[in-house]
Structure formats: structure tokens, C-alpha cells
Symmetry: C2
Subunit: 499 residues, 2 copies
């Protein structure tokens, strides 16, 4: 097959990905080590990159390259139907993204990039001082600009739906609430059914926590030449090159599992990225070489955090390392129970699997209201606190522990939050299939079969990249549509075990 | 004054500096935390940036902008002669740099960027395995390309002189050896005159070393919101934005002062960068806002490392912290003497002030031979080892401790090494003036007057940026041409004190 146009398109996408990965590198640096005073220049750098990236992803040059590649492909003697189809899928996704980018005014792109940097910076200050008002003017501006963006992009989807597409392609509010409502109904009574475990205060020093997180990654099979680790105020995972993966964690005073669990979570994200296809037209620079959605991404991170690390078998295998570092718990059952206290709290990241869904439901509802113009940003703390009191039975004593706790909105990310809860549901449904194929998770953990688990996930989930969207992928793996029932039934079993 | 053309040029330079600082950020990341497998993609990123940076710094657009700004400035009613002169200096430096960049073939720029990345990568491997042969083919290629570059740039200067200009503007071999020869003659007999101190083996654990380095920076007045610190295989200092400074250090087993002294050294570099002018046409993005030469840069780093930290007064003030961390030395005199053992050794970075010059002389002579075609890269280890035996009386047992010890050549940096020794000379000469103005260094240290020292350096050295070249600056501060005598006499006094 003559692939002249195809290769030209590939070279163009490669350069775009070079710039995109540079942007990621600046983001990584900003969040792990950049001194605070660097923020303003960093914003200039990111704004500049956002501008030239938008030029590249919305250009007529790209449009012509896509059309030429498509024409060439259709006229070629490509006889392998699978190859042909997957190449056409690349073209389809590129066209969709080009269409989206072309609709956005370049001036808005620059304004947005700057507003995101300012938002993040003011959020950091606001959080430190627990003073929502510091953040408010920047947040208001960010919301205004993102609403404008959504209107430039689409008049078919609602503003929130439009902004959520990059995280979860094809998502609608209607579909989302159909999936979420059973969860919203089920959790509160389940929360009441859990027996309260008294949580004795204890902690581990920073070095011990670092040691345990390193140990965890060792056991999971982290290759140090491939995956670097650092600390950041908000843990994240990011890919900086086809063979350059990064994860962060953070140490929270008084929360001895926080860093450990965050490490497991971010590891899950990274394993997904490491398992993405990386050959030819499914490469890093092509759509097919990328993660299909943030819900799938979160299903992978939540799997490692909850199904692996919060399991009883894992506590049994890891208890010795905790003891080595001075953990005062008596036995592995205590360790397991300490990592699984089901109780409504203020903090999403530190929340248990059961109440976690409520944290997401609150954020999802609030961000829809904010973006669709039904909630003035000024009223966010009040509404936030109200909903926490109503759904979780706790009232944030200040904004730091309340509506300022998460980084997402400060960077203009609206539409991301549902991915976490969708991720829980997807993880539960996919894990049921994994257990059918490989046997019970608890046994796999007891046998330290992490490599088998990773291989299975790669083969059944990761390797598809964007060739299937998230719902197609779930159906492909489990032969069923996504349902909240797997997650609910998993939680019920776990509560029984714990009680 | 109507500054339309001037501001247009400023905006262009600003974008160039955004890209340049992004390049620096990638370099920082590569050397501090990037996992090894990331190297190949990082090379792609750096090659891409080198290409577009070269386009920008050699473009007709830039040429036109410079000419317009110059015409505007000359026709303006700028009455402040100092302002006028310094703006004209910017124009002069921009023209010179444009001329240099325009002569280099863009294809060569790409090849060079790639060869530098490969050189660095293969050097790391070669060093780890102490196997020069791993590095040799990449080194050979790098030398070939840099010779080609030098020929494209200039037929007036020799190849080595041409490559050395960006580090030390206006340097010639003749001038250099006139300055260096008295040093080459003086050091060997001085080395013989030092009394040998027996060096007992001791070490500090990593955390203690980190603590001492942090303490050092605290005492010097580091602002954590401005200066970030990390570890890297080869310590360096780098500026990533007008208010974003980074320094690294490294911990060497069995060398309890190594990390501490590297921190002081890199701090000196950073203080210089922090003190550069930052207003208007002397800003970060303009030539005048930049460091004037690497010799001046090294004079600043060597000042903090040697004149401050290796002084007796400093040992007296810092001994308590060493004791706190389990240092077995009896008193501060012992600490001081341990930091000042004058003895020929294999390693440049760990070398004392006296033998240091010989390490530089060896490298300077060898790199001139390599670049001017008189030494085949294959023969480097042999020549290196020979010269070490002859001048320093030690023979490297392997290439890791020999010609592979430094990073510079692996990144294609030829012409940098003399800056270190020139820096020693400049530091000595400038310090004599500093002592005239502020009193003896030992007293300043005893009184913890680091702020006065920094203020003096800023006022007399840093704030000039590139408005004076290094030799003009030395003359401006000390009223005399650069001479090796200050350094030689400083060393003689120190040897007397130690003996």
C-alpha cells in the first residue's frame, strides 16, 4: 500500500504530540517542584503552547492532510479489513476533534489558558487561607469563558455535556443520571447498615510512608526506568512520552493510608497508559493510541486502589511492611478494617468506596448547575455545605475542607467528576469478568499474581486505546451494557464481610 | 518616545524566551527525574524545540524587527544618554547573535540537537559501565558536527574559539594561555609545598547531607518560593523563568562535603541569575537581562563555594550543624582542614582550589586538540590519563574516574571548561575589591552578613547583565585588567594558614 498521505498526516500528528507532551511536562513540573513565584511565567509558557497547539489542531493544513489520507486509504488495496477499519476509526476521531477545535475562537483559547493558570494559582492561595473569596473572581471568569467555549462548540448538546465530551465521549446528562440514580438511592441506607469502627488516631512518619509506597510499586512491578514518582499537592498520573510515565502522591498528616492509597490509584492510571497500543497507526501520536475515556481511566485506578489494596488478602500480604515501619495495629484484619471504614466524611480523596459516590453526585450536580447558569459561583460554598449535610451528614467547617478541596474546577475542568463514579461501576463490572477468567481476586493477590492481572487488563481493556468508546469497551469485555448493579452488589458483599 | 518597533521586537524576543525557557524546563526535568526510557522521546522534543528556536533566532522577521527598532531608536528623542547607549547595546548584541545563528544550516541544527541527546544518553551508559567505547561513536559524531558548525559560523576565529564564544564572548586562545600560563607554572610547586593532612574515612547518611544543604541555603537566605532544589547526576543551576530558579546537588558516597559544596556552588550561580536586571529593555527576554559570560558565572559560584564555605569562619559557624548530624570531627579547625585538603586527585568537582586549575588546564588543552583536529577521539582516554599522571601525579584506574567524569562534552559543550579557571581568577580579583568595600570576608561570615555580600555582588556585578562583557566588568569593578596574581596570592596565603 502506498502510504504517502498517511505518513504525512502521521508526521504532523507526531509534531502535535511533541508539543502536547511538552505541555504535559510543564504541567508535571508546575505541580511537583516549580517554586511558587514561577507561576506567572509558567502561565505565559502554557498560554503560548495552548495557542500554537490550537492552531495546529484546528488548521486547514490538518484538514487537508486528513482528507488526503482518507482518500488515499479508501483508494488503496488495503485488504486487511481490521487494519482498514481501525485506520478509518483514526480518521473519524481526527475529524471529530478537528471539527471541535475549529469552532473555538483562538482568542478564547488564549484567554482560557491564562484563566486556567490564574484559577489554579488563586485556588492554591484560597485553599491555603481557606478563603473562597480569593478564588471567586478567577473562578467566575473561568466559568464564563468555558460557557462561551461550549457555545462556540455545540448548539446540540447542553453546555455541561459539551464540556464533558473530551473526558467521556458521547456522554449525556440523561444517560448519566439513569446510571447514577440507583446509586444515589442505594448508598444512604447502605451507609446506615455499616457497623461503625472506632478509629484510633495513629500516623506514620514521612519516610515510612514513602517506603511503603515504594514497596507497593515494587510489588506491582514498577520499572524505575519507565515510571518516575514525585509528590504534589494533588496526586495525579501523567504520560510525558511513549516510554515516560509519571505518578505523584502526597502525604497527609494524620492519614497514614493516604499516600499509600493515592500511589495505588495513580499506579492504576499509569498501568492503563503503559498498556495502550504503541505500534504503527495505533501509536502515541494517533487517536487510537490514546486512552478512550476518563471513566475507563478511573476504572483502572480505582481497581488498584480498591479491589487490590483495600482487599483483605492484600492487607494480609502487606501487614509485615506496616509493622516494620511502626504501625500500631494488632493484625492484618485490623489493617484491613482500618483501610475500610465506611463512614460519610468531608473529603473525597480520602473517602471509602461506599460514600465516595455521594461526593461525586454532589460535585456532578453542582458543576452542571454552575455551567448551565443555575448557580452563581458566589453561592457555591453554601450549596456545597448544604448538600454535604443532607447526603453525607457532615458539614464542612471551612471552605478548605469544603468546596476548595479539589483541584479540578480551578483548572477549568468541568465534566470530569462523573468519571470517578462511572469508573467505580466499570471497575466492578469488568472485575467480575476478570474473576471469571482468572479466578478470585483474593486468590490472585494471595499468590502475588499481579503480572497476570496486568496482562489480563492489557489484553482486555488497555490495548484497545480509542478504537472502542467506553461503553463499547464495557460491552465488548463483559457482553453487557454498563449497569450499576455490579458495583452495588460488590459493596453489599463487602459490607457483610466487614460487619 | 514612540516605541512601536521597539515593543514589537520585545514581543518577539519574549516569545523566543518562552521557548528557550521551555527548553530549559525539559533539560531540568531530564536531569533530575525523567525515567531513563524517556530519553528518546525527550530527544525528539528537544530537537523540535532546537529547530523552531533556530528558525526564530535566524529569521528575516527578526532581522527586520531589529533594523526597525534601531532606526526608530536613532530617530527618537531619547535624551537620556545612558538609556540610549544601553538600548543600542541590546541592538548590537542581537545583531551579533542573529549573524551567528543565520550562518548555521537548519539541517545541522537538527542533527546537532539529536547528537547532543544521544551523546548525553550514551555518556550516561558509558560512565555507568566505565566503558568509553560505548560513548565513542556518538562523541565522534558530535565533534564532527560541532566542527562543521564552527566552520559555518566563522572563518576568522579557530574552530575551538568559535565554539567558545557563547560561553566567553571575545575569547581567543592566545589571550587565554597568556592568563593561564602563570597558573600552570605556579601550581605544581605550590602543591608540593602543602603539608599532607591524613584524611580519615567518614561519611554522613543521605538525609543528614540533605539537611546540611538545606540549612546552608537557609542561612544564605534562599527564598523557597523562588528557588527549588533537586538532585541530579551532575549538579547544575538553571533559570526557568524571571522568577523561577533551580539548583541541583548530588550525594557522593564517601564524600561527606560533596553535596554541601555543590549546593554552595550552584547557589552562587543562582544568586547571579537572581541579581540580573529585570526591568524594561534589560529584562529576561533581552540580551542585557542575561548573564554576560560563563567565566563571570563561575566566578560567582566559586566565590560561594570557596571563599565562603571553605573559609575558616564558615566552619566555625557551621560546625554545630555537622556535629548535630554525627560528624566525627573534633572541632571546627578539623572541619575546615577537612574541607581544604590540597592534594592532586582524579576528580575535578571534588578537587581543592589549588589543584582545580590543573584539571581545567588538562581539559582545555584536550578539547582544543579534539576540536582543532589534532586528537582523534579514540585516543582521548590515553591522553587524558597521561596528562593526569604528568600534572597531578595520579593515573585514573578506569574511564569512569577519568575522561568520562564530566557531562560537558557529552552534550557537545566545548569551550566551557576554561570558564571555571577564569572564574577562580575573576572571583579572587573581585573579592579583593569586595573586601576593600565591606571588610574582610572572614568577618562578614562571622557576622552572618550574607545579605550585605549579596547586595554588594548585585550592585557591582550582577546588575550589569550583558551591558559589559566579562573583561570590561572586571575592569569596571576593580579598575584593573584581569590578572592571575590575585588568585595565586590568595592561594599562597591560604596554604600558609593551613600549614
Amino acid at each position: 500500500m502506498n502510504e504517502i498521505a498517511w505518513n504525512k498526516l502521521g508526521a504532523y500528528l507526531n509534531e502535535t504530540q511533541i508539543l502536547g507532551s511538552i505541555q504535559n511536562t510543564l504541567y508535571w513540573d508546575q505541580n511537583t517542584i516549580m517554586p511558587r513565584e514561577g507561576a506567572s511565567w509558567r502561565a505565559d509558557q502554557l498560554t503560548y503552547l495552548a495557542k500554537i497547539l490550537h492552531e495546529r489542531t484546528s488548521s486547514n493544513v490538518l484538514s487537508d492532510l486528513i482528507i488526503s489520507a482518507e482518500t488515499e486509504l479508501k483508494g488503496s488495496n488495503e485488504v486487511d479489513e481490521v487494519q482498514f477499519k481501525s485506520k478509518m476509526k483514526n480518521i473519524e476521531l481526527l475529524k471529530k476533534e478537528l471539527d471541535r477545535q475549529s469552532r473555538i475562537d483562538p482568542v478564547l483559547v488564549e484567554h482560557l489558558a491564562r484563566a486556567k493558570s490564574r484559577g489554579y494559582e488563586s485556588w492554591q492561595q484560597a485553599k491555603e487561607n481557606s478563603e473562597y473569596k480569593i478564588f471567586l473572581p478567577y473562578f467566575r471568569e473561568l466559568i464564563k469563558l468555558r460557557i462561551e467555549e461550549s457555545k462556540q462548540i455545540s448548539n446540540k448538546l447542553s453546555p455541561w455535556e459539551t464540556l464533558a465530551q473530551p473526558y467521556e465521549p458521547d456522554i449525556t446528562k440523561e444517560w448519566l443520571f439513569k446510571i447514577f440514580n440507583p446509586i444515589k438511592e442505594a448508598i444512604p441506607s447502605m451507609l446506615k447498615s455499616t457497623k461503625q469502627v472506632k478509629k484510633d488516631k495513629w500516623d506514620l512518619d514521612n519516610n515510612s510512608q514513602k517506603y511503603l509506597s515504594e514497596k507497593l510499586l515494587d510489588v506491582f512491578g514498577r520499572d524505575k526506568n519507565l515510571v518516575a514518582v514525585a509528590e504534589s499537592p494533588h496526586p495525579f498520573s501523567i504520560t510525558l512520552g511513549p516510554r515516560d510515565f509519571r505518578v505523584t502522591t502526597r502525604i497527609v498528616k494524620g492519614e497514614p493510608f493516604s499516600s499509600f492509597l493515592a500511589t495505588a490509584h495513580e499506579w492504576g492510571h499509569s498501568v492503563y497508559e503503559q498498556g495502550l497500543p504503541s505500534q504503527s497507526h495505533q501509536w502515541f501520536a494517533w487517536p487510537l493510541g490514546q486512552a478512550t475515556s476518563m471513566a475507563i481511566h478511573e476504572s483502572q485506578s480505582l481497581f488498584w486502589e480498591n479491589r487490590i489494596v483495600k482487599s483483605k488478602a492484600f492487607s494480609e500480604s502487606f501487614f509485615k511492611f506496616f509493622i516494620e515501619k511502626g504501625c500500631p495495629l494488632k493484625n492484618y484484619e485490623e489493617l484491613w478494617k482500618s483501610m475500610n471504614i465506611f463512614k460519610g466524611g468531608l473529603n473525597r480523596v480520602e473517602a471509602d468506596e461506599l460514600s465516595y459516590g455521594l461526593h461525586i453526585l454532589i460535585r456532578t450536580e453542582l458543576e452542571i448547575e454552575l455551567i448551565e447558569g443555575n448557580l452563581d459561583p458566589e453561592d457555591l460554598p453554601f450549596e456545597w455545605n448544604n448538600m454535604y449535610e443532607k447526603l453525607l451528614g457532615v458539614k464542612p467547617p471551612n471552605d478548605k475542607l469544603g468546596c476548595l478541596q479539589d483541584v479540578h474546577w480551578s483548572e477549568g475542568a468541568f465534566g470530569y467528576f462523573p468519571s470517578y463514579l462511572l469508573g467505580h461501576l466499570i471497575s466492578a463490572q469488568i472485575t467480575s469478568k476478570l474473576e471469571e477468567d482468572l479466578g478470585l481476586i483474593e486468590n490472585l493477590i494471595a499468590n502475588q499474581s499481579y503480572k497476570s492481572i496486568i496482562d489480563w487488563l492489557k489484553e482486555n481493556v488497555h490495548k484497545y486505546g480509542r478504537s472502542l468508546n467506553s461503553m463499547e469497551l464495557v460491552k465488548d469485555v463483559t457482553k453487557l451494557e454498563l449497569s450499576p448493579n455490579y458495583f452495588i452488589s460488590y459493596l453489599e458483599k463487602k459490607i457483610n464481610l466487614l460487619n
